[in-house]
């Protein structure tokens, strides 16, 4: 084997491997952006309610009801298109989604269901005064936290 071939063959294999990883990265970037965006819209609406509950902003029944309805609508979105197998934090970058999601789809689905239930409680409470809203924030935080606990890598 010539020197050139000895160097280029491994280099070619290596670049192929990198290429495959880059391809996986690219293939999933849309899905990852979409699900993180979904989470961000949830956090934005939780923020409207949470800032009222914490006394950072004035309580406003109408705005609270709107935010709670948005959260309910977000719970109804079928996200199967962007929770795609192979897009976990072990395989690709820029995601904190743990492989556990795909190892335990039923558990992940149950946590999503529990979030939907917490939001139903929130919808009933949000327009009903500050105390009712404050009371419903805890169960909501629990529902988000329960899923992040099992299925999201802690922040670094």
């Amino acid at each position: 084997m010539s020197l050139a071939r000895r160097v280029t063959l491994p280099a070619a294999i290596l670049s192929l491997a990198i290429g495959a990883a880059a391809y996986a990265q690219q293939e999933f970037s849309g899905a990852i952006n979409a699900r993180q965006g979904h989470m961000q819209i949830m956090a934005f609406n939780v923020g409207i309610l949470g800032n009222m509950a914490r006394g950072n902003t004035e309580y406003d029944a109408e705005a609270a009801t709107t935010a709670a309805s948005n959260l309910a609508a977000l719970a109804m979105v079928d996200g199967r298109g962007y929770w795609v197998p192979g897009s976990d934090n072990g395989a690709v970058e820029n995601t904190r989604a743990l492989p556990a999601i795909w190892e335990d789809m039923a558990g992940f689905g149950a946590d999503w269901q529990a979030y939907g239930e917490a939001v139903t409680g929130l919808q009933a409470a949000a327009g009903n005064g500050l105390d009712a809203l404050r009371g419903a924030m805890g169960p909501l935080g629990n529902a988000c936290g329960a899923c992040h606990d099992d299925f999201r890598q802690p922040s670094d």
Binding site: G50, N142, P154
Partner: protein, 296 residues
């Protein structure tokens, strides 16, 4: 020659004797409890602040099931896997048959009723700083919970860590004799220090450890590698955590960060416990975090 063997044997005996003496379990005197009586109602707050359910309730237990302290949860460590025992008031499977003194010894000295050392996976290094009254209240509360007949499982710990007597050496090195944060504190932060250091054992996760698994008290709450291997547990000293006191207190109640992401990892479970406390107690913990020395 005979003399040499004899003196060697003597030295050996002496060393063993010293080891035995130095690793002897520390027991409390019964006088410690005299005149004190447990109050189950007050004990409930101690229970949630102490986070007992996080380890002694079944894995994934939610709602009222977190009050069934059947044990069974496993904790992997560099030294082996520890399995939390049944501490429900069941007379045989749990601790229903224990005296109050035995309970206080377990909590504050890490010593079992038959005089053996517990492993520090059971955070008695924190509970050691708790008041005797709080421990009796806690016992009274646990007595009101449902008994579970589920037997405790043995730990999966290999030699030499399987020798409990060795824990005596560890205790000599790492049992705290006082608070990590010693400075003068206002009464609110002082309450927060009690809750955080003696009961809620925040440092067990937020402080890095040395090679023997003891907390590095010079880096108190400075953040630590996550024992699960995923990510890091964040530092929460004022130079690392810029949240307002109100934001910290609210996070400990509803689990939302100031930008309304939600807490994950083991913190979500800690918050499920702390959410059961009075607002004033969470505000006290927040004041204590603000009073921590900087870690850099």
């Amino acid at each position: 020659m005979g003399r040499l063997i004899l003196s060697c044997a003597l030295a050996g005996c002496l060393a063993i004797g010293m080891f035995w003496l130095l690793t002897a379990p520390e027991r409390s005197d019964a006088a410690l409890l005299s005149g004190l009586e447990g109050d189950a109602r007050r004990g409930e707050a101690v229970f949630w602040a102490g986070g007992c359910a996080s380890c002694h309730a079944a894995q994934e237990a939610t709602g009222d099931d977190r009050l069934v302290l059947s044990g069974g949860r496993a904790f992997a460590s560099d030294f082996g896997t520890f399995i939390a025992p049944n501490i429900s008031p069941h007379p045989e499977a749990g601790i229903g048959g224990w005296s109050d003194l035995a309970f206080v010894d377990a909590m504050r000295n890490g010593v079992s009723p038959d005089g053996r050392h517990y492993y520090p996976a059971f955070p008695y290094t924190a509970y050691r700083l708790a008041t005797v009254q709080d421990m009796l209240d806690l016992r009274a509360f646990i007595d009101t919970l449902p008994p579970s007949a589920q037997p405790s499982l043995p730990h999966e710990v290999g030699f030499p860590f399987s020798i409990r007597r060795l824990v005596g050496v560890w205790k000599r090195l790492h049992m705290p004799d006082g608070y990590a944060v010693s400075g003068p504190l206002d009464p609110v932060a002082e309450r927060g220090r009690y809750l955080s250091e003696a009961l809620a054992h925040c440092a067990e996760c937020h402080t890095p450890r040395n090679r023997l698994g003891g907390l590095d008290r010079d880096l108190w709450m400075a953040g630590a590698p996550n024992p699960n291997g995923e990510g890091r547990i964040p530092g929460i000293t004022p130079d690392r955590l810029s949240w307002s006191e109100a934001d910290i207190a609210a996070y400990l109640r509803d689990g939302f960060t100031p930008d309304f992401d939600s807490a994950g990892g083991h913190m979500a479970d800690v918050i499920r416990n702390l959410a059961m406390l009075e607002d004033a107690d969470r505000a006290a913990i927040a004041a204590y975090l603000k009073a921590l020395p900087e870690s850099e």
